[in-house]
């Protein structure tokens, strides 16, 4: 079977440098494609589509849009096996964070579209911190499922919710910390620094 033809002229050679400039992305260029990350990956064991080596390779070759719009970049579970074992110390866990950060910025600018639910969850999660200083688990889960309009998922958590409530683990109201304003200040300053 003939392999697909990719014209390098149409790729973005700067993508690799862009990632390398992001915090955590610095070491992407160290990669010599040995495959240790892919064979160590906990997610890859379950979902073969997720392939860290290929993600890095596509990024290095400049396949920017394909990488940033892929649902796969949101799948890393932070197990750090690749991070430990990578001989070149590429730190894929951090590289993928850097790629995600670029994706979010690009999505904000309307340059790409993200289908994955993960950034939304992260946003809801972080919003909870912004509001209360700490995470209000009950509230953020509700908000996430509602925003996704994923009612069946929400209902599937009902038995768990009941059990948690019985165990006294479910907070029906958020607990705001005293330094809430300080935390809000942090958000503001970070936004100013980075453009969240």
């Amino acid at each position: 079977m003939e392999s697909k033809l990719i014209e390098v002229d149409k790729l973005d050679p700067n993508f690799k440098y862009e990632i390398a400039r992001q915090p955590g992305g610095e070491k992407i260029l160290q990669c010599f494609a040995c495959g240790t990350c892919s064979a160590s990956c906990s997610i890859r064991e379950i979902d073969e589509k997720f392939n860290p080596r290929r993600i890095i390779r596509m990024a290095v070759l400049g396949m920017k849009k394909e990488v940033l719009e892929s649902d796969l970049i949101w799948l890393c579970a932070d197990c750090h096996f690749c991070y430990e074992r990578c001989p070149q110390d590429v730190r894929f866990v951090e590289v993928i964070q850097a790629i995600r950060n670029i994706a979010i910025l690009q999505a904000k600018e309307g340059k790409i579209k993200i289908e994955s639910p993960n950034p939304l969850f992260a946003e809801v999660f972080v919003d909870s911190i912004r509001a209360h200083g700490r995470v209000w688990e009950t509230g953020l889960m509700g908000k996430f499922f509602l925003k996704r309009r994923d009612y069946s998922k929400m209902f599937s958590y009902a038995p768990l919710g009941i059990k948690m409530a019985k165990a006294g683990k479910l907070a029906f109201l958020p607990h705001g910390i005293k330094g809430r304003r300080k935390v809000k200040e942090i958000f503001k300053k970070v936004e100013k620094e980075e453009g969240l």
Binding site: S42, W74, P119, V126, I129, G168
Partner: protein, 288 residues
Amino acid sequence: MSIGYYPGCSLHSSAKEYDLSTKAVFKSLGIDLKELKDWNCCGALEASSLNPLLSLALCARNLAIAAKDYTEIVIPCPVCRVNMLRVEDEAGKHPQLKAKLEHIIGEKLQLGKVAIKHPLEIIINDIGIDKIKERVKKPLGNLKVAAYYGCLLIRPSRITQFDDPENPRSLSELITVLGAEDLNFPFKTKCCGGALLMTNEDLTFEMTKNILLSAKEIGADCIVTACNMCQMALETLCIKAGAKYNIKLDMPVIYFTELMGLAFGIKDVKGWFKKHLVSPSLIYSKVG
């Protein structure tokens, strides 16, 4: 002797029993855990997904608070602990970042002043396994335990600096000294996928299912863990396994601090066990 205590959000809610058992066990070892004043969320794994600087800044505030009163803090949640340690590492290496973080939180950072430890680390490295042995009142005779380390307790080892990232031994040492049987658990360092529980449930459940089935296969009475995220992910599947896979999975997943409480003869254990979604009460009958 008192040490600063950063529980993190989940120990105040979904991992209440971890919070209670940690404090009780440390108290029985003569260490008072004093909760940091008005701490905030570390940002978990979500803040860094959006913006790594936010994650660092949130943790920096906590570290600044800790540095006012303590030279040592204990963080039972491995996610929170790694996040805090990352601030020390990154800001330590990049003075510009340190300055930026100080500007954001409006306070000075005293890097290196506060030792950031996991309770298991204090028990194994500082208190020592021999001291623990002296404390055991009720050796856990017949209990067969699968020690489960997961990820962020031991990886990335460059940051965590605790135990072996590929072949950890600390929980096993502890379990053995408490008198229980430490099983050879092939999944001890595997990932539970907890980070993706809310967004990619199917993936997480495949991962937790493998872990739980393996523990069952080796004949474990329970899984012992040192991570609230793992505990949550494993228990969640136990509850949902019936609906999801039409199988029964009721493996108790308890914290190492609870196991210590049991062996130390701490009365509150019953109360902690009640908070579990999968009841560990069978452990009682096993231990006697």
